[in-house]
């Protein structure tokens, strides 16, 4: 493992630990809580991985939300009509890719503005999905196959690792495939090169537009799969506007992950976790002070590990730990009430905060981002 990843690992472990403590303290089953977080994270992970590949090729497609909801309704409708959820999944991927190719043709061949076209794609997708979805409201889809066998009966680990629906494993297979593709294959290298400098790639004789169209179609298929994971597995039902901003969160995850596949998975689980936990917070009477204490704890862990790693004295970090302890103590004594609407906002507020923090460090963000991201490629000669 590369050394800079160590603080990240420590922070993740602390967060998982906090989750378990929270679950036990409130009489929830930590295993069930984990499983529901995994289910919530799957659609985000699928969509974000697709968008990661698109952005690596230098294209910014803001239409993820639209492609997700088209995938959601296409998958749902086909699954209901044919009775086969697997056909539904295929249809979702195809529908997402088809919608993405509309974006691709407009932006790559007709040179329309990527931001405006992406926004239009979202609006168009939401409207079209609502239209197609009219007859399907309130219907139950056919049950999704699960990976259920004897290993699932192992306590704790069996429940967490096995017995999930196939979409979850598909997401992880996709994670491995995308990572392998981008970092180990020649095709992945060419894709990254196109995203880095389309003019140089063109001068070397690579087909910039063709490569970008392929990436856009792949991203659309992934977003469609994410939509199907929502309508066929997570909910499972069709309601208008059911993606409820998941596409935008997927876009934020790509930035959060600094365009690295492994961190996309981490981000998806973080946001999935926040989405599930905010439901439980309301029941558990968690106050904002507790959340503040958690945030301080994570910062303290991060700073401590980083200093320890660099061999610097850990003493200056004690302030963070003191602040964490003080906030936690205050949270025990004083419990200000909060309206549930504020807790429902948590995933979105987290999205905004993450984007602010990431873009605050311009040097790092600009190093990680593909240099040609969002720039129009105009072929000459």
């Amino acid at each position: 493992m590369r050394r800079p990843e160590l603080p990240l690992l420590a922070v993740t472990l602390t967060a998982v630990l906090a989750l378990i403590v929270f679950a036990i303290a409130n009489g929830l089953n930590p295993v069930l809580l984990t499983v529901s977080i995994m289910i919530a994270a799957t659609p985000l992970m699928l969509a974000a991985l697709g968008e990661l590949v698109v952005e690596k090729s230098g294209v910014l497609n803001l239409g993820v939300e639209g492609m997700m909801i088209i995938g959601a309704i296409a998958g749902f409708a086909v699954a209901v009509e044919t009775g086969s959820p697997m056909l539904g999944v295929v249809a979702a991927a195809l529908a997402g890719a088809a919608l993405a190719l509309v974006f691709g043709v407009l932006t790559q061949m007709l040179l329309s503005n990527q931001v405006a076209t992406g926004l239009a794609l979202t609006l168009f997708g939401l409207g079209l999905a609502a239209l197609i979805g009219q007859p399907y409201a309130g219907i139950k889809p056919p049950a999704f196959p699960r990976l259920d066998f004897f290993l699932s009966d192992i306590p704790v680990i069996g429940r967490v690792l096995f017995g999930h629906d196939l979409m979850l494993y598909l997401a992880f297979a996709l994670l491995a495939a995308v990572w392998l593709f981008l970092s180990r294959t020649r095709a992945g290298l060419i894709l990254r090169a196109v995203g880095e400098s389309h003019d140089a790639a063109h001068a070397l004789g690579y087909n910039v537009i063709g490569i970008r169209l392929a990436a856009i179609a792949f991203g659309g298929a992934c977003a469609g799969l994410g939509g199907a994971a929502l309508s066929l597995v997570r909910v499972p039902q069709w309601t208008e506007g059911m993606t409820a901003g998941a596409g935008w969160i997927a876009l934020a995850i790509v930035v959060f992950a600094t365009w690295k596949p492994g961190r996309v998975a981490l981000g998806a689980y973080l946001f999935g976790g926040v989405t599930i936990l905010q439901l439980n917070f309301q029941a558990a009477r968690i106050t904002p002070l507790w959340l503040l204490a958690l945030a301080l704890l994570l910062l303290a862990v991060n700073a401590s590990v980083r200093r320890w790693q660099q061999g610097r004295p850990v003493a200056p970090v004690l302030g963070w730990w003191a602040a964490t302890a003080a906030t936690a103590a205050l949270a025990v004594v004083w419990a200000p009430s909060i309206q549930s609407q504020y807790l429902s906002m948590t995933p979105y507020i987290c999205t905004i905060l993450v984007l602010v923090v990431m873009s605050g460090n311009r040097l790092r963000a600009s190093l990680a981002a593909p240099a040609s991201l969002g720039r129009v490629f105009h072929r000459t000669g």
Partner: protein, 510 residues
């Protein structure tokens, strides 16, 4: 000498322009052949056609007597044609080996590729570490990456497009050794450059293009640089006369500025001090990427620093933005003509307004004074002989040289106290370059302090009174022009004299 590459009757036209018209020439095995011509003479289109990036309208190309019709760069490489680009076709965020693999049609595995890069690099005296990020390399090292990338394909014809424009004199020597070694192994080299002395030293034959046609063929060693230049432009050249340099009072002072890099591949400015006096042309030499862009931004006001670091006359202006600085008389013209110095989709009148607004009082209570603004732009066009259909023409429609004349002229007509220009004649043809250089000298003669940042040493030798070298974010103490030879300056540009002249903070000529 048998013809390895022969071009017969090649013609290519773009809407409104005949880029190449009935071009004939031949390059033999082991020959270094120069293509000479001004900007827009058709050299780029011609080599793009040879490299398969452009499909000619008419005419044939032959390699080894066989008809050669490349459908793209991959086909060209398969036929043994490689090219080193003027603007490097490299990817900064990828490492050397990845960059090289991208330029090969059939790259070997990682371990073998790394070994072959090291082998070729050593064989031709071009040391390279395959694992380093290209963004961290110097310009000279980046060019090595391009060359090694070509050599790994064992090319038979190598095209070099302006390879030395960004190199130090020592790096140029290394490059020439490599090229001569390649030629002795039978590789035909097609060499494009503006630098006539280099062509005289290196090339066996030269084909001269003007307005898309072949106008002459010669042996460059038998001609003087002046003769070559006059063949290129079809005119007699005039050089600005030397003048007496009597520095006046200090106008602009930058004191001990240290500024961390703002971008991942930027340069950190390290304790940079300079002083510019009235009537002085101060040249700042250096290879691109050594802090020129950063220094330019500090002087123009795009990057703000502590107020007391930069002093114009007695006013502390370090914390001011560009507009306020313009008001007080510090004007600047950045390197990038389109998109930085001028807005491409706006007319020349509007572009004139953008920087002339304050000093020329082109607005009244928030409204543009249209007639005055148009007159200002027309005055620039007339005085600097900017070739444009009208003042309403969009900046993008002008050729590089004409837009550069407008951008520099726009500042000069505002009667600056101090003018800072970066690469004033970069990519500009000889005629326009001479006009701009003369204008800068004339401006200094009237008492303005002129600071010229340039990579072109010949240019600095010609126009500056004093000069400093910017290397790795450090600025050497100023020297009188003529007190050092080009070779010594080259060593300073390469960093090998870092501790020698830079220590002395006093002026060499004081």
């Amino acid at each position: 000498m048998s013809a390895l590459l022969s071009i017969r009757g090649l013609t290519k036209s773009y809407p409104g322009v005949l880029a190449n018209s009935d071009i004939h020439f031949e390059v033999g095995t082991g020959e270094i052949h120069a293509l000479l011509g001004e900007n827009g003479a058709g050299k780029s289109t011609l080599v793009k056609a040879i490299y398969g990036l452009v499909t000619p309208d008419k005419g044939e190309m032959y390699v080894d007597g066989n008809l050669y019709e490349p459908r793209g760069p991959q086909a060209a490489r398969a036929a043994g044609v490689s090219m080193v680009f003027q603007h490097f076709s490299l990817f900064e965020a990828l490492n050397v080996a990845e960059n090289i693999a991208l330029g090969m049609s059939d790259p070997p595995g990682r371990a073998e590729l790394w070994q072959r890069i090291r082998d070729v690099a050593n064989a031709y005296g071009l040391p390279l570490d395959p694992g380093r990020l290209v963004g961290d390399l110097s310009v000279g090292e980046r060019q090595r990456v391009e060359i090694v990338r070509c050599l790994l394909q064992s090319p038979r014809i190598l095209i070099m497009d302006e390879p030395t424009s960004v190199l130090t004199p020592q790096e140029v020597d290394t490059l020439f050794r490599t090229l001569r070694q390649l030629a002795s192994e039978g590789v035909a080299i097609l060499y494009i450059s503006h630098k006539l002395e280099e062509i005289r030293a290196l090339c066996d034959r030269a084909t001269i293009l003007r307005s898309g046609r072949v106008v002459a063929e010669c042996r460059p060693a038998e001609k003087t640089a002046r003769q070559l230049a006059e063949m290129m432009i079809g005119l007699e050249l005039t050089r600005p006369l030397p003048r007496l340099f009597t520095p006046g009072l200090p106008l602009l002072r930058l004191r001990g500025l240290t500024l961390p890099a703002a971008t991942p591949f930027g340069t950190t400015l390290n304790n940079v001090s300079l002083e510019l006096r009235a009537g002085e042309v101060l040249g700042i030499a250096g290879v691109a990427g050594n802090g020129q862009e950063e220094l330019m931004r500090v002087l123009s006001g795009e990057t703000r620093v502590d107020a007391e670091k930069l002093v114009l006359e007695s006013r502390q202006i370090g914390a001011m933005g560009p507009n306020q600085r313009r008001q007080y008389g510090l004007l600047s013209a950045p390197e990038e003509r389109l998109g930085h110095a001028a807005a491409g989709d706006m007319s020349l009148i509007e572009n004139g307004f953008l920087t002339g607004n304050r000093r020329q009082r082109l607005a009244y209570r928030g409204f543009i004074k249209t007639a005055t603004t148009a007159n200002f732009a027309r005055a620039v066009i007339r005085r600097f002989d900017v070739r444009t259909p009208s003042a309403e023409t969009k900046a993008r429609a002008l050729s590089g040289g004409n837009l550069q004349k407008f951008v520099i002229g726009r500042e000069i007509l505002q009667r600056p106290k101090v003018l800072v220009v970066n690469q004033p004649t970069w990519g500009v043809d000889a005629h326009a370059a001479a006009t701009i250089r003369t204008a800068l000298r004339d401006l200094a003669a009237e008492g303005t302090g002129v600071l010229v940042i340039s990579q072109d040493l010949d240019e600095l030798m010609e126009i500056s009174d004093t000069f400093s070298v910017l290397e790795a974010g450090r600025l050497s103490a100023p020297q009188r022009t003529g007190s050092l030879t080009i070779d010594e300056i080259g060593l300073m540009m390469g960093g090998s004299m870092r501790d020698h002249p830079g220590k002395d903070a006093t002026r060499a000529d004081a």
